[in-house]
Symmetry: C2
Subunit: 225 residues, 2 copies
C-alpha cells in the first residue's frame, strides 16, 4: 500500500508544483483547500482544476472566522500593487492573514490523522514570502516538532510536515513544475479578483519574474494573450 499524503492546495503555482512533487515521490495524494471567506473564489476553482488534472480527491474545508485581519480577507482594504521587490521583503506585508499557515496546517494534520496519512505537504517558500513569519523554515520545523508531540500518528513517528520548495527560487519551482507536467494554465496567482491576471500585484510580478528567469512562457498569460 502506498503512503498517503495530504497536500495543501491554494490554487497557486507553488502548491501545484508541490502536489506534483509529492505525487512523483510515490505518495497517494489527498488535496485540501479552504473556503475561509477569502475575497476571490477563483482560488478554490483553480484548486479544483489542479486536483482534477492530477486525478486526486480534493476536500474543501469551510471555515468562518468572525474577525478580519488582512486585506485578502474581504472587500475592505486595498491589495498593494506595483510595490517594488525591495518593499515586498521589508517587514510583514499587509496581505498577511493572521496565522494562516498555522490554521491551514493544523486542519491538514487533522485530515492526515483521519485518513492515516504519513505526510502533510505545504508549498511554502521563503523567496516571495520573506515577510511572512509562517513561511520560514524555522517555523515549519517547529510546527513539525509540535505535530510529533501532539498527534496520534506523530508520536508514532508516522506524520511529517514536508515543505519541498521552501528554499527554492521561483525560477527553480517553475523549472521543476515544467519537468513534472504541472498544468500551469490552471494555476492562479493574482491577488486582484479580476477575470484576467492583473500583472501588477506582488504575486503577478513574482510569477512573471520566475517564468522569465526560467526561460519559460507562462501558459496562463499565453491564454489571456
Amino acid at each position: 500500500m502506498r503512503s498517503k499524503a495530504v497536500v495543501l492546495l491554494s490554487g497557486g503555482l507553488d502548491s501545484a508544483v508541490t502536489l506534483y512533487m509529492a505525487r512523483a515521490g510515490g505518495y497517494e495524494c489527498y488535496g485540501i483547500t479552504f473556503d475561509y471567506g477569502q475575497r476571490h473564489k477563483i482560488e478554490i476553482g483553480s484548486a479544483r482544476k489542479i486536483a482534477a488534472a492530477a486525478g486526486i480527491k480534493l476536500s474543501v474545508v469551510r471555515l468562518e472566522m468572525p474577525w478580519k485581519g488582512s486585506t485578502l480577507f474581504s472587500g475592505s482594504g486595498k491589495v498593494p500593487v506595483k510595490r517594488s521587490m525591495r518593499r515586498i521583503s521589508n517587514g510583514i506585508p499587509s496581505t498577511y492573514v493572521p496565522a494562516r499557515n498555522t490554521v491551514f496546517l493544523s486542519i491538514a494534520v487533522s485530515y492526515a490523522e483521519a485518513i492515516s496519512a504519513d505526510a502533510v505537504f505545504i508549498g511554502a517558500h521563503s523567496e516571495d514570502s520573506s515577510g511572512y513569519p509562517d513561511c520560514r523554515v524555522e517555523y515549519l520545523r517547529a510546527f513539525d516538532y509540535t505535530v510529533g508531540l501532539g498527534t496520534e500518528r506523530g508520536i508514532k513517528g508516522k506524520l511529517r510536515i514536508i515543505s519541498p520548495i521552501i528554499s527554492m527560487k521561483k525560477k527553480e519551482i517553475v523549472k521543476i513544475g515544467v519537468s513534472l507536467g504541472v498544468p500551469f494554465d490552471r494555476t492562479w496567482s493574482c491577488y486582484n479578483g479580476l477575470k484576467a491576471p492583473c500583472r501588477v500585484c506582488d504575486s503577478c510580478i513574482l510569477r512573471a519574474k520566475g517564468f522569465k528567469e526560467a526561460g519559460v512562457k507562462d501558459p496562463l498569460l499565453e491564454r489571456y494573450g
Copy 2:
C-alpha cells in the same frame, strides 16, 4: 490599557475555570468556541451562558471538515460509557478528535493576532486527558514555541499560549473555580447528548470525582436533582 487574552471555551468546567483565572489575572478576555459538527450543540449553548455570566464577548467559529475521525463528531459510533478510570488512562480514547487542540489553538492564535492579544488561554489538563497527546505539557510548550516563530506578535514576544490548569487535579480545578465564582451550573461535561447529565460517561464520572474530592456539591447535578 489592559492586556487582551483569547480564551478557548468548550462549555465545560475546565475551560470555564480557565476563563475566570485569566480574568482574575487582569486580562480583558475574548472567548472563542467552535461549531465543528460536534454531535451536541449543548456545548455551544453552555459556552454562550458562561461567556454571558463572565460578561465577555464570545466568537463562534464555524468549521466544516468533510471527514470524520472520532465518535464525538457525529451520530455514528457510540460514546464509551461506564469505563473504569483505569481504562481511561490506557492508550488513546476513542473519543479522540484528530488534532483537535492544534486546530482550535491555531484558530485562537489567528484571532489573537487579529485583535492584538497577548495570550491564548486553553483549559487543557492532563489528569482526565492522559490519553490525548495534545493535552500534554510537552505538546503545549512546543505549540507555544511554534507560535513564537510563526506569528507577527509571536516573533515580537507578545503572544503566549497559557494553560494554567495543565498540571492540576480535577478537585483543585473545582476548588479554584469555587473561589473565583465560576457558574458551574452553566457548564456542561457529559459526552452523551441527553437533556440531563448521564452520570455514567467518562466525563461525568471525572466531574463527579472532582466535586466529591473537593468536598463541594455540583450545582449542575443539584439542578437535575
